[in-house]
Amino acid sequence: MSAIPVGYEALQGMRRKSISLLCLFLASAMAMGIFVYIDSYSIHEWDDRVGNVGPVAMTVGGESVQRYVDEITNLPEVTHAASMEYVHTTVANVGGADNDYYYGSYARVGIVSEEYSEIFPDRFQFVEGHIPENTSSIAISPILAESMDIWIGDTLNYTIEETISPYGEIEGVYRLLTICGIFTDSISSQYGYGYGYWGETTALVVPELVDGYDLYLETEISLDVDRTQLTPFNPQQSLSYLLNIEESIREMDPLYNPPEYYSYNIWVNDFLARAVSDYINWQTMTRFTQIIRSAASILLVVLVVFLSIRFNMNDRRYENSMLMSRGAARSDIERRILKEIAFLTIIGTLVGLGVGVLLSRIGLASTGFFKFDVSLFFTEPFLISVESIIFAVVIGVLLPLFTWIGYNGIYSTKRKVDESTGKLEKVARILAIIRWDVILFVLSALMLIGLSSLGRALQYAPLLAMLAGIMPLVLLVSLGSLTIKGLRRGANILSRGMNRIVGILPSSIGVRRLGKGASSGGITVLILVLAISISWTYSVIDSSMPLTKQNHGRFAFGGDVAFHLGSYPTPAWTNFTANVTAHASTAAATTINKIKVILSSEYYDRAYIVGMNPLEFQYVGYDQWGVQLNSSDLSPLMETLAATPSGAIITSDIAAKYDLSTGDSIRAFSYYDSSEFFVFTIVGIADALSNSMLLDTGSNPDYGFYFYDTSVGTNTFWVNNEYLGSLVSLANDTENILCVRTKKGVNGTAFVQDILSQGGDTVFPEQNGWAAVTYEVESFTSSTAYRIDRAVDTLLSIATSAVIFAGFIIYAFEGVTARKREIALIRSMGGSRRLVLKAQLAEISMLILASILLLVVFGPLYIINTLIGIRTSVYTFPVSVYPVFPMLTMLTVLLFFVGTAILFALVVSILSTRINLSEALNASWAESGPYGGDV
């Protein structure tokens, strides 16, 4: 290859290089855009998780741990430390006689010294009141206050010491203490879900109260560390820093001897490390989830890169033939091409990193799918982690590399087969008979039919749901191959068909050229179809999710709003119910009564009986489709139920399990007393029935594959309240739920807040004993996961526009020399520029028509399969998603992409008619030379 002068390559083929560069930077741009967006957005998560760790970064406990306080304080990273003692005891509402536990509660009591209060003044946040200052007062947590129904100023019975004699007699030392404050412990939230009373500080007293008593005291050291070392830019380093501090503390324990972890005296609760670790997990999972969600866009980029590599190879065909005629080996040529592609990939990746950062800002500025708040572009945080750069570079380099390997593999095998004789040729002939695209099409279609028939069961199997989302892409690839073959073989037929529409010449030349360029034409069709389908899917998801949450909420709550009053009514209930019913925003309200029963001897064979006034409830509740009950298919059944006192409408799962039908009797046993049973006559069977079992519809899981096996709307009976009331005490033995349908346009959250402000908040036995559909929808759509999904959808939609441009540019420039000669020939025969333009447009029109035909099949399929795989809740609902097709948006997307393609083709066509006729027509065996050939 020494005959080729140095530098020859660098400046030649600039058009080819530019086009290749445009395609090759897409992969890294997309990856960088997603990762930098997540990195930057994650600062909010960092602030939420790490920033909200209270004044105590770690606690240290264990046997005789107080001796380590000084040593811990002297650690260089520790800013301050102090110890506090705790005692476990009971407190009781004074209303109970002799410390009757029925009115009492366990408490973990913190004995707060002055020293501790000075070092950690913000550990305990007072909702009301203050820290105890003498031995007559106590501060308690809100949970304790609510469970015992006491507040500041009330008195409770505090057990200082209690013993049980051998005869079972209880002797103790008790003190009446006045509640001086209600506090929250900043550490409580750090222990996470399910920590409960045992580990949580629920009361505070002064040390003097317990002095002199031989009590078992638990000591815990609180400490804070230098948090300036913690940064979201390098969370791994931050985590290592914290873990090193932990290790330093543990090493103070003489029994600490890793890897043996079963004998140690002290333990460390590292809240900061947990927060950083949660942050890292969230970030990793979010990146992974978003890359998986971007599978279709990645395929799009692969197609364009494939086209680009193919264009690169074909553009050099003449040049390569020349070199081979001068003695160059094929391997030399392939090495040259690989060097160029590798070089362009590196440049493209670097350019892509920059473009990706810009894309990420667009993502950060989005508040929904294609909804923007421009100020966020400038004000949102900016973070590029080292990992993001590495991932983006790896993806930017590997994607084209693997595509090139794939391309080379396909075409070199094809070449070997074409050139060979003997066994390989025979094998090739046999393989050619096997229509892999037809087989793939059939298999993927069957798989899709199978997956979609799983129904609700698909929600239990996230891997299958993921497969359901990917299968359409496999189908598309096989359809693409069939399309290419169809274009190739059908070009003549198509051109005859188009004669009358565009004219004989444009259809003969333009449409048939499509058959000649079917390989790249077919892929261009795939690119257009996939890009439109992806954007359509995103817009459908954006429209469908709020409605899904709304309908899930209405079904799960038994109305637009539900107040879970519980059991054991109080006089306040009557006023409360009256307030709600009379409120201006209320369209209808009714009370339902729910009890848990068992249908057989199996403990887990639970069901819910929901007692109601059917004629009232049908004006309050909704069916699983989101339809008001009074307008739904359930309405006639409810009328029948109302007319049948001992009747029941049951769900189909119960009917199927016990082989029941309408008219049969069904028996259910009390959950708490199996000797007690209820018998009903089945008046109807429904697929799913609302049972108001939830106070929220379950947030979109942060970790995509973690979900509850809880089915909403199954295992349910609807019965008449009157009849149920003859079997049990509705007030005391059932959970009373006040369900409300609000008037159209009413904000349920505002309605609830208005009711609560009228004194309604004292009615609920537990915090947040209400549920509102509007609150659900708002929480969901403003949740981090939802916002990230919509933002990534937005930036990927923008990126697909670039992908389409790239695909069409390649198609336009492929065979440009042959096209120019063709145009020049027609012009030399007296063909006008307009005629040439018509021929070009005929070609593009056929391409777009083929795209639209494919889109009609693939688009809806892709949308529906993506929707099937979406989970908006940790629970499973009878209808997982309620699809909304925003026709205007989808039409806009279609017009935008198709319009762009047409406009692009028009511009290219107009430009290509302005050619030098003599140059294009003259002998072009050598592309060098001023005149394009002999003169």
Binding site: I504, S828, M829, G830, G831, S918, A923, Y931, V935
Partner: protein, 233 residues
């Protein structure tokens, strides 16, 4: 004087600007061709033969001088007027055939007639006739990649003579090395077809060639060197 000539090239020069360098492909060339003549233009590579052909064929414009076709000065014509001239009066036969690969032989020959807007019946008659003359009636439905080099060139020749009936006698056929890509025997055959058909249709033929045998078949030969006509045989 120009009224008697179908091609009248008068003092034509063509200078190409290659950066700062000017390349004079033609320098003051004057040439006249009567209707029905067969003219050869010969000369070594770089002598300006193809440039001259391109100017006569309205594919390029001279830097100076005038070019007239059938008495019409095409030198400063607008593009759409030139289109009409190309459509009705000029045809090309190229060395590398330049057939449209997506069209059959029949459709390639039909192409100029379609461009000219000739009616279907007349088109069919004309194409059948031309294909018969060049001996390719039975290969009419074949695409160029299914034809041999000689067959492709014959299709090109037939295409060159496919003009609206009223213009047949004023066709100027410009052939640029028509036998350059063919073997000797096929080349002779092609020249025979080209000459016979052009004469039969009453057209005028200008052939650029290196081949002295081709030159010997022409009525007159212009020899060119360094952008000038050096003699006229």
């Amino acid at each position: 004087m120009s009224e008697n000539f179908i091609v009248d090239v008068n003092g034509v020069s063509r200078i190409y600007q290659m950066g700062e360098i000017e390349v004079a492909a033609l320098r003051g060339v004057t040439l006249q061709v009567k209707p029905g003549e067969a003219i050869g233009i010969m000369g070594p590579s770089g002598s300006g033969k193809t440039t001259l052909l391109n100017l006569i064929g309205a594919l390029d414009r001279p830097t100076s001088g005038t070019v007239s076709i059938d008495g019409i000065d095409i030198t400063s014509m607008k593009e759409n007027e030139l289109t009409r001239i190309r459509r009705n009066k000029i045809s090309f036969v190229f060395q590398f055939f330049n057939l449209l690969p997506v069209l059959t032989a029949y459709e390639n020959v039909e192409l100029p007639l379609l461009i000219a807007g000739v009616e279907e019946e007349t088109r069919k008659e004309r194409v059948d006739y031309l294909l018969e003359i060049v001996g390719l009636s039975e290969r009419a439905d074949h695409r160029p990649d299914e034809l041999s080099g000689g067959e492709q060139q014959r299709v090109a020749i037939a295409r060159a003579l496919a003009k609206p009936p009223e213009e047949t006698r004023s066709i100027v056929v410009l052939a640029d090395e028509p036998t350059g890509d063919l073997d000797t025997q096929t080349g002779e055959e092609i020249m025979r077809v080209l000459l016979d058909l052009t004469k039969k249709e009453g057209g005028t033929l200008l052939v650029v060639t290196h081949d002295p045998d081709v030159g010997a078949k022409m009525d007159r030969v212009y020899n060119m060197r360094d952008g000038k006509i050096v003699n006229n045989e």
